[in-house]
């Protein structure tokens, strides 16, 4: 029986090539989209789950302040919190702390003093217990005791290979940092970084007890401040995390009541975060270690795949029910010779299943071919191995089966309900299915298409806006060179004057943070005479003289820094607003900060206009700048079109002066653009899916109008014989579809508006949604639909009526 079902299904598919082509094309596009999004989503899930008892591992996170906008909300804590948790609570079986060395810029690493080094990101200072909680697979050495002593390091296999080639490296040393601060680290292990899916994504670990920042973290005992440490704890099996969470407020009060008061952080709260949730559920928490994704983004992609597949299913449903006439005789005969409704439903379902399974088989190689493009779009590293994974294949098979059933069930019920006496005797036209239902489905397809068109336009507009908005500083014609070594610090003046001699260089300055980096440092400050515990958090960036001039940041009042400045600061307008300082009083104002019961004074010597030192998603917050001689970046403003020559000149000058730090540069405008890479990717992904949705919808419409014209052949013939013009006939065939698109437009408009309004809420600085976007999308959809329908309509209208009347 099944064989018979599939045999006739296959013959039917081959016989109706246009229909099969339309259905198959739609289903292939839908299935390829599902498959690619499926492997992408699966690749984004399952982070950190391979660690032993991952469900018992938590990161401690910190929120300070009340209400909707806390003064900070960070994935980190103060240094002593994790060790104190372990000693206070028996249910905490282990703890470890990680410090991102990027923060203090000592991630320059090299195999020996004689070779060039690399600025390697994701370098972590870690407690010796790190491998007790996070089991990385060691290729060389052993995790036991690997970071027990000062100046020990464990490298990723990738970094070990980069530094030493394919040699065995355990026992060898590396130089970490440069100049006077350089330290020698002994390699105690190499771990496999390719097979580990963790939010940590480490490049190398350095023992926390190594002199420098690690020592500070190990000994610092303030529970309020210096929230830059990633703290992890592991609970004993069956421990109640919720219970522990409830004990945290009293814990922090017990250890740090006074310190919290002094730091103005009495509202500081600690939260336990499951490590398995970090990668996808960290929205709103700042200072993530590495790049995290967002579950919303994955849901959005899954929804896109679902809609594309749904649009393809609708084609199948519409085209199958529309051509019920053609199959009526077959159904009648089958019923007469003994087929029951059930067996006919099974037969029609096997046709839709066969089609969706064929689509699945064709989709796999297409998806593999598309993977390089997908990786380019998502910055991912998906390979065919992600597809040939039992989980993916089972899911894909389930999706295809479900698609087949979803697409087939309605036509199957409709077709199997045809009564044999209606069809066997005469050539009567039978009404198959509800015409309204078919129309509703077409409307639904166009609701999806129009909503997607609107979304694409708005996302693209917002992206363009972020690109063109005046950020308050100049990002064009600017190179940023990595500095961050004591060698560069000591030779900065020489480098600057040498750079200024290079043709095309306009000005040179330096800073701790580049304009494309989020400024993480901050001070809690207050005004003289005010409550020292009522603090305003002011972000902090250290810069050189000429910084404002180089960056084209408007100095509204006061002066630039000079060499004798110490605690003098220049603030942005947001700071004045936040402290309620009148503009004319700004230059006579001093901001205060208390640290370890010592009061520090910061006189304001200048005010700059607000500029975007974080992304446009965030509001411009208070910021102060101070003179700093330990830059992480050297900025070179230039005026030349010969970038190649400029970079080459900069490099040779750099190398003449600096032998401890490699010449590494980026163009500032490119880096600023990268801040919005996710939006750019979203815009591209949306465009692709919109195109696909419209394409499938139009193909469906094309198929539908072909059958519609076929059904109306006799009517058209009679009308033409009676004198109807081609124009009237085309109108007859197209007007219904035009109405459907208009209805879809009316439904899609509020839906798309709400969705896009919601999305734009993510941006503090955003475009206004213009009514023209909707009009454009509506007209666009209507035009596309009209072109599709007209093709068949004109064909039907110009046909000779004699032929259609004779065949009746």
């Amino acid at each position: 029986m099944i064989r018979n079902y599939f045999k006739i299904a296959l013959r039917n598919l081959l016989k109706h090539k246009l229909l099969t082509g339309i259905n198959l094309f739609g289903l292939i596009i839908g299935t390829v989209s599902c498959l690619i999004i499926l492997i992408y989503v699966l690749n984004q899930t399952g982070y950190d789950q391979h660690f032993d008892h991952a469900e018992n591992i938590y990161r401690i996170e910190t929120v300070n302040g009340r209400g909707d906008k806390p003064s900070f909300n960070t994935a980190t804590t103060s240094p002593p919190i994790a060790p104190a948790l372990k000693s206070d609570f028996p249910e905490v079986s282990e703890m470890t702390r990680i410090v991102l060395t990027d923060l203090f810029n000592v991630n320059l690493i090299r195999a020996s003093l004689e070779v060039d080094g690399y600025y390697e990101p994701r370098a972590y200072l870690a407690d010796s217990t790190v491998f007790k909680i996070f089991q990385f697979h060691f290729i060389e050495g052993s995790p036991i005791g690997a970071l027990n002593s000062p100046n020990q390091t464990v490298l990723s296999a990738t970094l070990a290979k980069k530094l030493f080639g394919n040699k065995s490296v355990v026992g060898k040393t590396v130089i970490w940092g440069s100049g006077a601060e350089a330290q020698t680290l002994t390699i105690t292990g190499v771990f496999d970084d390719e097979s580990t899916k963790s939010h940590l994504n480490p490049n190398y670990f350095v023992s926390m007890t190594t002199p420098g920042m690690g020592e500070f973290v190990s000994t610092f005992q303030n529970f309020a401040t210096n929230n830059f440490v990633y703290s992890y704890i592991k609970l004993i099996p069956d421990a109640d995390a919720q219970n522990l969470q409830e004990k945290l407020p009293s814990f922090i009060q017990k250890h740090g009541k006074k310190q919290l008061e002094n730091a103005g952080m009495v509202d500081k709260k600690l939260f336990l975060k499951k490590i398995t949730d970090i990668h996808l559920y960290s929205e709103g928490r700042d200072n993530q270690i590495g790049t995290v994704s967002n579950i919303k983004y994955l849901y959005f992609l899954l929804a896109l795949a679902f809609f594309i597949q749904l649009v393809a299913c609708i084609n199948f449903i519409n085209l199958s029910t529309a051509r019920a006439n053609q199959r009526a005789k077959e159904i009648g005969v089958r019923k007469v010779v003994g087929a029951g409704k059930g067996s006919l439903i099974r037969q029609f379902l096997s046709e839709s299943l066969l089609l969706s399974l064929i689509a699945m088989l064709i989709s796999i190689p297409i998806a593999i071919l598309l993977l390089p493009l997908v990786n380019e779009l998502t910055l991912g590293s998906l390979s065919y191995l992600n597809i040939f994974n039992w989980k993916v294949l089972v899911l894909l098979l389930s999706i295809s089966t479900l698609t087949g059933l979803l697409a087939g069930i309605y036509p199957a019920i409709i077709l199997s309900s045809i009564k044999p006496i209606q069809v066997l005797k005469s050539a009567v036209q039978i009404q198959s299915g509800n015409g309204m239902f078919r129309k509703a489905l077409v409307v639904f397809q166009f609701v999806i298409s129009i909503s997607l068109i609107v979304s694409v336009i708005i996302i693209t507009q917002q992206f363009k806006y972020t690109q063109s908005k005046d950020l308050g500083f100049n990002k064009e014609n600017m190179v940023a060179l990595r500095a961050g070594t004591s060698d560069v610090t000591s030779k900065y003046d020489a480098i600057k004057s040498n750079f200024l001699n290079i043709p095309g260089v306009v000005s040179v300055a330096s800073g701790r943070y580049a304009p494309f980096e989020t400024v993480l440092n901050d001070n809690g400050m207050y005004l003289p005479g005010k409550n020292p515990q009522d603090l305003t958090i002011v972000r902090r960036n250290g810069v050189s003289k000429d910084y404002f001039n180089t960056m084209n940041i408007d100095l509204l009042q006061g002066r630039d820094f000079n060499a004798t400045d110490d605690n003098q600061i220049i603030v942005n307008k947001a700071t004045l607003k936040s402290f309620n300082i009148p503009e004319d009083k700004a230059l006579s104002t001093i901001l205060l900060q208390t640290h370890d019961e010592v009061v520090y004074e910061y006189p304001i010597v200048g005010v700059v206009d607000d500029y975007h030192f974080t992304t446009l998603k965030d509001e411009i917050v208070p910021l102060f700048l101070h003179l700093d001689n330990e830059p992480n970046w050297v900025f070179v403003k230039f005026k030349t079109d010969d970038y190649k020559q400029l970079v080459s000149n900069l490099e040779s000058t750099w190398k003449k002066n600096i032998d401890t730090a490699p010449f590494t540069y980026v163009f500032v405008d490119k880096e600023v653009e990268n801040l919005y890479a996710q939006e750019q990717r979203l815009s591209k992904i949306c465009t692709v899916f919109t195109f696909l949705a419209i394409l499938i919808s139009c193909l469906g419409l094309f198929g539908l109008v072909s059958y519609y014209a076929e059904q109306k052949k006799k009517e058209i013939g009679i009308r033409k014989v009676l004198g109807a013009s081609v124009q009237t006939v085309v109108k007859l065939l197209t007007k219904d579809f035009v109405v459907l698109v208009i209805i879809a437009f009316v439904i899609a408009t509020p839906l798309a508006y709400l969705a896009m309004h919601n999305w734009l809420e993510n941006f503090t600085y955003r475009i206004d949604i213009s009514v023209w976007v909707f009009i454009l999308a509506g007209i666009g959809a209507l035009l596309i639909a009209l072109i599709t329908v007209s093709f068949q309509a004109i064909k039907a209208a110009i046909a000779n009526p004699i032929n259609s009347l004779r065949t009746e």
Binding site: M1, I8, R11, V336, V337, G338, L424
Partner: protein, 225 residues
């Protein structure tokens, strides 16, 4: 074998009610060959649909093999039909996507006959209908006469007790028509009851008895043998 008493069937549209069968009564015995004649619209086809268990009467009694079947639901009718009734249509009604062999095999599939047995029985009946050499052809590749022979083969492959033929020669020339009638005679002689609706006096003469209808009623009944 068939006993109908006061059988009624109406067709209703929103405004008009048409009487297709008006208190029709007759009986057909096992092994009989009955022809039903009458002008278009007299209710012949409606009667055939009811006798073939494709449709349900609106009134009266219909006994099939002594069993009252008027009022049976679609599932029960279908069950009874597939084991007892074979159909031959004027327009053959073969499935275009299936070969000759597959068309004839179809009733056996729906009655759950095992594949090996199916092959045997289909081949037997194709031999009998002298169409074996065309077993792998599709309907469009056959002449009208050949198509009707396939349709007859399909009707008899399940060894039904009753064959209903609705103008079986209506689309055939006289030579092919006679061949089909000869086939029906052979089947009848082998014991199958046949009820045939026809416009052709020539074909009707092959039967044992002619029932003539007008406006949903029986007007005359001629016994030929």
């Amino acid at each position: 074998m068939i006993q109908i008493t006061n059988l009624e069937k109406f067709y209703r549209t929103e405004e008009v009610q048409t009487i297709a069968l008006n208190k029709l009564s007759f009986e057909v015995k096992k092994g009989e060959f009955v022809a039903i004649m009458g002008p278009s619209g007299c209710g012949k086809s409606t009667l055939l649909n009811i006798l073939g268990l494709l449709d349900d009467p609106d009134g009266g009694s219909f006994k099939f093999n002594g069993e009252e079947v008027a009022g049976y639901n679609e599932r029960k009718r279908s069950e009874l039909r597939k084991h007892n009734v074979g159909f031959v249509f004027q327009s053959f009604n073969l499935i275009d996507e299936l070969t000759v062999f597959e068309n004839v095999e179809l009733p056996l599939i729906y009655t759950g006959v095992k594949p090996a047995e199916r092959v045997k029985r289909v081949e037997e009946v194709l031999e009998k209908m002298q169409i074996m050499h065309r077993r792998n052809h599709f309907p469009q590749q056959l002449s009208g006469g050949q198509q009707q022979r396939v349709a007859v083969a399909r009707a008899v492959v399940n060894n039904p007790k009753l064959i209903l033929a609705d103008e079986p020669t209506g689309n055939l020339d006289s030579t092919n028509g006679n061949e089909v009638m000869d086939l029906l005679i052979d089947l009848n002689e082998a014991g199958t009851t046949i009820i045939m609706v026809t416009h052709s006096e020539h074909d009707a003469k092959y039967s044992h008895r002619i029932i003539r209808m007008l406006d949903g009623q029986k007007v005359t009944e001629n016994i030929l043998i």
